[in-house]
């Protein structure tokens, strides 16, 4: 999985490309941990995630909790089909903030 971060005026966008599964969780955690201490929002773009499992999902939940503790806004955007399915099956689309298409801000 590729992970790139883009700095925007109101926060940081993390863009994931490829397979986000249990094997990728440690790398994701290491990359995202320093971003939580930045000012502004933290948004994860999942448009190009081709596979996601419950371990990766749990890591998103964990990250959102850490963000909440720091009063950082954490959101998911551009859900791919596999991501949408798993969020709906787990009911987490109701618990995690998902930006709807109208409000998506493309990374520059």
């Amino acid at each position: 999985m590729d992970l790139t971060t883009s700095d925007l005026a109101d926060g940081t966008v993390v863009t994931l490309v490829g397979r986000f599964d249990a094997h990728e969780v440690p790398a994701f955690r290491d990359s995202v941990a320093p971003l939580l201490d930045r000012d502004g929002d933290l948004v994860v773009d999942l448009f190009s995630v081709v596979f996601i499992d419950s371990s990766a999902l749990a890591e998103l939940v964990r990250t959102s909790k850490l963000a909440k503790e720091r009063d950082t806004r954490f959101a998911l955007r551009n859900l791919s089909a596999p991501v949408r399915v798993i969020l709906e099956l787990t009911g987490l689309h109701l618990a995690l903030e998902v930006e709807d298409a109208a409000t998506v801000r493309e990374p520059s």
Binding site: A22, H23, F51, V61, P82, L89, T90, G91, A95
Partner: protein
């Protein structure tokens, strides 16, 4: 009387005119008063008592000393480094030395050993033999002239059948008899120990020889199946004990195959030795024959091996085959070997035996059969160790079950067929040691690279098994594996990813919780039966504890517990069972699931 007390008493008696023997009785005639005479008489009596006591004490000390000496002397006999015969000879020397005997004899049903001069030894042996013949043996003493024989039965586990005896000239005393009864016990226990050690050494030697011979015998089997364009072959054998009688062998001549799969009656070393002989005979017969001459090969083997096999009293069931991959022609000659089966699209048939096993009849009989194989047809030759494998309740795997498994396997790769059958037998015999060798030879006509023959895919189950390391990374290989398993079901944009995710979740759960990050393996088997996909995941990790699962509440975010929840939603059914030391997860889903 030389001791000081005796001398003093003599002086006193002489001075008083008393007689020691009569003491105070003659006091009236003595030159002393009756009081003095009485006092002297008391002294005389006391001194006499002391002498007796002293002699008894000395005798007891000698006895104790003798016993200590004998224990020491016997302890010096190193039974571990001596044969039982050497131990017995040494024991006799020690006994003769300790008892100061003129001759010593040890008489057992097997052997008589003596120590001493020939004449004495013969006399003693005669006494002992006569005594052993008499019923109700007990310690005995026989006197003849100046010779005295002391005969002691030797204690043994199986009743008294042996005796230790010694010859002494002159009188024997209680001390000697006590010493003798003590020595007899020690001799008996040392002999027992020496024989036990000898038996252990003998058994260990035999076990080592068996092991070495069985390794040699197994080495006679070909190490890999033949490579032959136009067909696929899988061979395997698993000896039940160190040495087995199952065998297979093959040669490729001019792109044709000659092969044999057989079973030597019996087990262990004799069977393994005969097996190597039979393999050698097969190889030499194969070298001079074409595939269509397999009947002549059988006749040659019969002629060559019958005298040898009837000598050793063993027989050999064998399937002999000649195969021409170019045309798919198979010539088979079955000498009593079962199961031997041909699997075609039409069904499974038994290749009948045309001759009794080798070693039964001196002259060959029967004719080979010719079979034309089509693409995907199988020849499956097993050994009775497969069909007769028992389960924990003693039920056999069964010939019928073995046969009925094969139909659906038509067209599959030889290695898949072999793996599948062996696995089913393993599952049947779980926790039960194999009672006999298990050998399987599978030949599939047609290269693995070619497409399987067209058929009714709803009838033919598709099977596949894969084993992975229990790591998050290795689990990724299951995606392509599953796509391959289900590929023939047609495009399923939704079902395949769903099933893939379910399988992935089960396996990640095994990695994280079953093995807890420690090394291990996961075996995944798949079967597509019509529109239904069955997946089975096996691991040897910790037992799954359902109570530990945290069931998420929809809408309430939590970090654990989503895996199993997902699996339950993604497939039609998910079951867990603990099978011995394995966790087994079974997922089932229908391809036409709504």
């Amino acid at each position: 009387m030389t001791r000081p007390a005796d001398r003093a008493l003599q002086t006193l008696l002489a001075a008083t005119g008393m007689d020691a023997a009569r003491g105070a009785v003659d006091g009236a005639e003595a030159a002393v008063s009756s009081e003095v005479a009485e006092a002297i008489a008391v002294l005389v009596s006391q001194v006499a008592d002391a002498a007796v006591f002293r002699d008894e004490l000395v005798a007891a000390l000698v006895e104790t000393q003798n016993q200590l000496l004998s224990v020491y002397a016997i302890a010096q006999i190193q039974t571990a480094s001596m044969t039982p015969a050497e131990v017995e000879s040494r024991l006799l020397e020690v006994v003769a030395d300790l008892t100061k005997a003129d001759a010593v004899a040890l008489v057992t049903p097997a052997v008589t050993r003596t120590h001493g001069s020939d004449a004495d030894a013969r006399w003693l042996e005669g006494q002992v033999t006569g005594h052993l013949d008499a019923p109700g043996i007990a310690p005995a003493q026989v006197e003849e002239g100046d010779r005295t024989a002391l005969i002691w039965p030797l204690p043994s586990d199986d009743g008294v059948t042996a005796a230790l005896a010694l010859l002494r000239r002159g009188p024997t005393d209680t001390g000697l008899r006590k010493l003798m009864s003590f020595l007899v016990e020690i001799v008996a226990s040392i002999r027992t120990r020496a024989f036990l050690q000898e038996e252990q050494i003998r058994r260990a030697g035999i076990a080592r020889e068996h092991e070495a011979a069985s390794r040699l015998a197994q080495a006679a089997l070909p190490s890999r199946p033949p490579f032959l364009p136009g067909c696929e072959i899988a061979e395997s054998t698993r000896p039940a004990r160190s040495a087995g009688g199952d065998f297979y062998t093959h040669v490729v001549v001019d792109e044709n195959l000659l092969f044999a799969v057989g079973d030597v009656a019996g087990k262990g070393l004799p069977a393994a030795l005969v097996m190597t002989k039979v393999i050698a005979a097969c190889m030499s017969a194969f070298a001079s024959h074409r595939p269509d001459q397999i009947g002549d090969v059988a006749a040659q083997l019969c002629d060559e091996l019958y005298p040898y096999l009837s000598d050793v009293g063993l027989f050999v069931t064998v399937l002999l085959g000649g195969y021409v991959p170019g045309t798919g022609t198979l010539f088979l000659f079955n000498a009593g070997h079962s199961p031997t089966l041909i699997v075609t699209a039409e069904g499974t048939t038994t290749v009948k035996s045309v001759m009794p096993p080798l070693g039964v009849l001196p002259t060959p009989s029967g004719k080979s059969v010719e079979i034309r194989l089509r693409h995907g047809d199988l020849l499956v030759v097993g050994s009775d160790g497969l069909t007769e494998q028992e389960d924990h309740a003693g039920r056999l795997f069964g010939y019928d079950r073995f046969t009925s498994m094969l139909g659906p396997l038509h067209g599959r790769k030889a290695s898949d067929v072999s793996d599948h059958l062996l696995r089913l037998v393993d599952e049947h015999g779980r926790d039960v040691p194999a009672s006999d060798d298990q050998t399987l030879f599978v030949l599939r006509h047609g290269d693995g690279a070619e497409a399987s023959p067209p058929g009714d895919s709803s009838r033919v189950p598709v099977l596949s098994t894969t084993t992975l390391d229990a790591t998050h990374l290795a689990v990724r290989a299951l995606g392509p594996w599953l796509a391959d398993l289900c590929g023939h079901l047609g495009t399923a944009d939704v079902l395949l990813p769903q099933l893939g995710l379910a399988l992935h979740e089960v396996c990640v759960n095994v990695v994280d919780h079953g093995y807890g990050g420690t090394p291990g393996t996961i075996t995944v088997s798949g079967r597509v039966d019509g529109p239904t996909v069955h997946l089975e995941v096996r691991d040897r990790g910790r037992e799954f504890d359902e109570a530990s699962v945290v069931r998420p509440t929809p809408g309430v975010p939590q970090i654990r517990g989503y895996g199993l929840m997902l699996v339950e939603q993604l497939v039609d059914s998910v079951d867990y069972l603990r099978d011995g030391d394995e966790n087994v997860w079974r997922l089932t889903t229908r391809w036409d699931r709504p």
